[in-house]
Amino acid sequence: ERATPSSCGKNDYDLLVIGGGSGGLACSKEGEVFTDETECISLCLTGTKWGLGGTCVNVGCIPKKLMHQAALLGTAVKDAKMYGWQIPDTVSHDWPTMAEAVHNHVKSLNWGHRVQLQDKKVKYMNLKGSLVDEHTVRGLSKAGKETILTAKNIVIATGGRPKYPTNIPGAAEHGITSDDIFWLKKSPGKTLVVGASYVALECAGFLKGIGLDTTVMVRSIALRGFDQQMAGLVTDYMEAHGTRFAWKSVPNRVDKLSSGALQVTWTDTQTGSEHKDTFDSVLWAVGRAPETKALGLDKLGVQLNKETGKIVVGPDESTSVPNIYAFGDIGEGRPELTPTAIKAGKLLARRLAGQSTELMNYDNVPTTVFTPLEYSCVGLSEEEAEKRHGKDGIEIYHAFYKPLEFTVAERDASQCYIKVVCEQGGTGKILGLHFTGPNAGEVAQGFAVGFQCGATYSHLIQTVGIHPTCAEEVVKVHITKRSG
């Protein structure tokens, strides 16, 4: 069905969004602002087998957080004994029960998004989109049927997919990625997680937390791009709680044994020695990349970053081709986060409708890594602050602390830590705030508002703490790193 040409000029749609994830949905739903006269507003195309919602809903944030919660509850059950609860000595976890509950919630979100598209009068087609020219998109159905659509503005928000290693025999045939782990019907069993990104550590975290034998294989450093002191605390906690780490190691090959188990051979690059072990599952978490080839971008001359394959975008999410925009995970240099994709998508729709000129602000974006010991941060890492302001240009306040809840439970709080990186002298403006501890995301959200308002160290210590909480320790920091 096409809208009448007279109502939208020569194109079928004002706004055509390829991608039905966090960004694509937010952008097309905001397309309501174009006009409420005709159906000539926005269209959303998705080409995956998942329901609406993209990575976040189907194989990312949502199932991740729910499984992280499952793991935390396991720890809570153990703590409960110290608080007087009469709990049997061994408590075990049933993967299928958790998986079914998680899948049910994800499906309810898929449906909810479908209803929202309908409510916002967004036309939705389950087709795999590719570009024909700067105003034309070809949509391919699962059955192979082609639909040609034209639009004044085309927005690409197709995100990324997990990468498989290309040089390791058996990697693709026998290994899985984050796309698979959340949808396994049976427990993955003894698992090797290859990688040390937040995806790798979060997955390893909940797998260990529900009682599975888990090993993390790290090529060089953990949580690249994050403050490395904080990354160390995160991995220290995981190691202290039973996760095995194979540091500075790279896998050589994966073979399937007659028993069905997977045998992995790897090299310790520091010593040069070779090792092998068997696992039930091998999870590759070695990076993500967009599927730009399938989009047909090269034909149109849409500029891509050669290294990452992502689309080069301007501050207004424009690409090298007029009328074609890209945002979310697929944009080069953009944070791979749902909230930034959502916000950027909404602002883009408003700008394209001529309703606003506001650009997306990618600074001061807070984030949290949901590892067994959670880590949240907003602003610069210590390394980055040092690079920009010099070691003498910054003052770092820090403190280790012990959550009250850990005391009775006799839990180790060695890695619970706060670091506030400020400008030296002047107003002492906060450049970066880092926190490891329980509910780190909840703790940091409020501080992110202060950060956005340009809070200084004196603002921080002028704020009265809420007692007894972990968060109050942030407004009480007074010992500097400089003081030794």
């Binding site: 899948h103 049910n104 499906k107 309810s108 449906w111 929202q116």
Partner: protein
């Protein structure tokens, strides 16, 4: 539809035309009911209907349009007489719900919806009590998303009562046995 028109009996020609017309009418209908809110719920066990809490559900404007039908229903159909059945596809829905001689309760449900699992059996019981005077069609909204969207389903469970191809009543969420009995009686009685 490969047969030539001249070889078909007149009654069959009329039936096919009627079905085509009905399909067109179905496309034109929108469901909107004023002032019915689908409340987001926090837990399936407490709530009476399922909807994702991470989405803001605005007031769903669901009202009924009952277009007047000018088609005479003089010709008999051979429609199947199961009282409760799962809808297989769009054509199945047209044949067994739209074209049904009996009033039909359409139970829109989902695998992931706790309250749906409670309402389903209750509804079957209420329908069974009527001893063949009303039928029940079950629609899994994940399998038949377009159909559910077409009928304006937002939260589940949603039950729509149809008579002669028209929507005559509906409700969202769980009802107890007495409420269901009176709902079903009302649908039959009209």
């Amino acid at each position: 539809m490969g047969r030539s028109w001249s070889r078909m009996s007149l009654s069959r020609v009329f039936m096919m035309w009627e079905m085509a017309h009905r399909l067109v009418l179905r496309r034109l209908w929108t469901l909107s009911v004023n002032d019915i809110r689908c409340l987001p719920t926090s837990t399936a066990s407490v709530a009476s209907s399922c909807y994702s809490t991470s989405l803001q559900s605005s007031t769903t404007r669901v009202s009924f349009l009952s277009p007047s039908r000018s088609l005479p229903r003089a010709l008999p159909h051979t429609s199947r007489r199961e009282v409760s059945f799962n809808v297989q596809d769009s054509e199945d829905f047209t044949e067994r719900v739209i074209n049904s001689e009996l009033p039909v309760l359409v139970d829109f449900h989902a695998q992931w919806c706790g309250p749906c699992k409670i309402l389903g059996p209750r509804l079957e019981k209420a329908v069974a009590k009527q001893k063949g005077r009303v039928a029940m069609a079950k629609v899994d909204i994940d399998d038949h998303t377009d159909l559910a969207i077409e009928y304006g389903v937002s939260a589940v469970p949603t039950v729509i009562a149809m008579r002669g191809g028209d929507v005559v009543d509906h409700f969202v969420g769980i009802k107890d046995d007495d409420e269901l009995d009176s709902f079903v009686s009302k649908v039959i009685g009209q």
